[in-house]
Assembly symmetry: C2
Homo-oligomer: 183 residues x 2
């Protein structure tokens, strides 16, 4: 409420604490809260997507004492061998991109908590869910820092039966006001 | 020594703990060690570059109780206003790219610890140092997880007078052996 800034095109700018500069003390509290919500769900791995998700995933993984694995957005020559891939449309960057994840890091024995900073249309999340399906991994939960409640991603995931926890859900955004959903 | 794999083109693959899957317990120990080395250097901000650096930076920032800021590799429409930019050549990705950092997150009042997973030719580090110079920020130290001691980046930074700590320095790499420098 104090630091978020609304910009044209439904952009909510939170770069002073969540996705450019990182308030690590806040992220630790975010991690504590995800642990409180998902601690009984048998999570043995945290999955996220570069770049901003990595900070949230690491600060949460400390509480679960499980490894993090992050999907990559660009193909590097360092990724060799077999990979899962899925195509994602990014509204932020205005283009499609492929995400990749090495097959050795996700398998049917994994029960995954998927974490990300934002959920809006849910395109990146669908890519991560697709990767989990390809791996035969179970999705134990989805944790989001900020959901844009006026865009369809969250409602679709809840309708599909996922245990989705969004720490803040923004229902309306105007130039000078954010309204959060009561939870 | 146990998990690193040598690949053609001087690639040292450590993706099972450092830059694809993340061993968060190890990263916490990495953070403790950087804190031990740099705790008396007046650091008030940790600077890194997406993506792998973010995990190391967050797990280190906990010990310093300072914010992290990470340079971005792609221009997003979420970054507006004034930014510092610098051009970096990536050997891993085989191309040049621009890094950007919002001016509001780095200023002459900052004394920065720069962290990254790898140091080889030092091209990304030069980009980060250039950004610090543009900002008028002081570089209090540079912390690296794995330095390739047979490539020139580390020697150049030490010759330039930076306080550089590399937790592991690989002096030689062959298909079946890594030799680490005594420190």
């Amino acid at each position: 409420m104090q630091e978020g800034q609304v910009r044209p095109g439904n952009v909510l700018k939170v770069d002073c604490f969540l996705n450019h500069q990182l308030d690590v003390d806040l992220l630790d509290k975010v991690g504590e809260e995800f642990y409180r919500i998902f601690k009984d769900d048998g999570i043995n791995k945290i999955l996220t997507i570069e770049a901003s998700g990595i900070a949230i995933a690491c600060m949460t993984a400390r509480h679960f004492n499980v490894p993090v694995v992050f999907a990559k957005k660009a193909k590097s020559k360092n990724i060799d061998g077999e990979v899962y891939t899925s195509t994602v449309h990014s509204y932020t960057y205005g283009r499609d991109y492929d995400i990749t994840l090495s097959k050795k890091f996700l398998s049917p024995s994994d029960k995954v908590l998927i974490l990300d900073d934002f959920l809006a249309n849910g395109k990146a999340m669908k890519g991560l869910l697709d990767v989990c399906a390809q791996a035969g991994a179970t999705v134990g939960g989805i944790g989001i820092c900020i959901e844009k409640g006026f865009q369809p991603g969250g409602a679709e995931l809840r309708a599909a039966g996922y245990k989705l926890a969004s720490l803040a859900i923004v229902d309306t955004m105007t130039d000078d006001q954010l309204t959060f959903r009561e939870q």
